[in-house]
Symmetry: C2
Subunit: 117 residues, 2 copies
DNA sequence: GGTATGTGCAACGCCACGATTGCAGACGAT
DNA sequence: ATCGTCTGCAATCGTGGCGTTGCACATACC
């Protein structure tokens, strides 16, 4: 496993914000500093800095010092992990729900098969 | 495409809550009504009802009337869609960032190749 | 018809989140 | 050494989300 269940909720929380997606999309194109992002997006540099630390906490962005400034990059691998994890959960649902459905259908045509044994 | 960008943020927002995940995990096992969920989870039925409508708005649960009660089921297909969409975004990042990296390396060994034309 | 169970809507309080402003420290350039 | 720029921390404000309580309506069962 790559992420615990409560961690997954934190990552999803980080992804559940429009401004952070703007930042991520921008950093998915090329690296940029917080000040540079503040000039491109309609929010303050401090707000962007907070978002960046939050994104870094869940591993969605990576900082790289370049002189006196810090260039940030979107971490694609982390996003892939989240996507795979969601699909894994979905697979678990389909299996269990199909099992329940089969049991219901079996009980419909043959109610209480345990008695026969 | 299955989901627009702002819709994706809404779905992720619905997934960014611990109580809603408890509901989803429970409904991923078998269908249940809001009242039944209220007896299993440490929250009120009204709170669960609000969560269910929110999850329904983004297509993560499906209601089915069974007599006087409404049984809800987790929609696995929707979660798969979200996972695939996240992976698609991640793929876009990796391609663009690798392109930028190549350009940087090319400029390192051959600075300003445009002049040669 | 009466009772019990399940659902629906509205109002309220509480807390976290997003964004802003202000100030201070650190590093590079001149 | 000085100036300009980038970063960092703290305080504040407004808004939205989560949960609760209370009441009203609909439906199945006796």
């Amino acid at each position: 496993m790559t992420t615990s269940a409560p961690e997954l909720v934190r990552v999803l929380g980080a992804l559940a914000d429009d401004t952070r997606w703007q930042i991520l999309d921008r950093l998915g194109t090329s690296a940029a500093s917080a000040s540079a992002l503040a000039q491109e997006l309609p929010v303050t540099r401090q707000a962007i800095a907070r978002h960046l630390t939050q994104l870094q906490d869940v591993g969605l962005v990576t900082p790289v010092r370049a002189g006196r400034e810090i260039r940030w990059t979107a971490t694609a691998d982390r996003l892939v992990e989240v996507g795979d994890q969601l699909r894994a959960v979905a697979d678990g649902w389909t299996r269990r729900l199909q099992t329940v459905k089969r049991l219901a259908e079996a009980a419909d045509s043959d109610p209480d098969p345990d008695r026969s044994g």
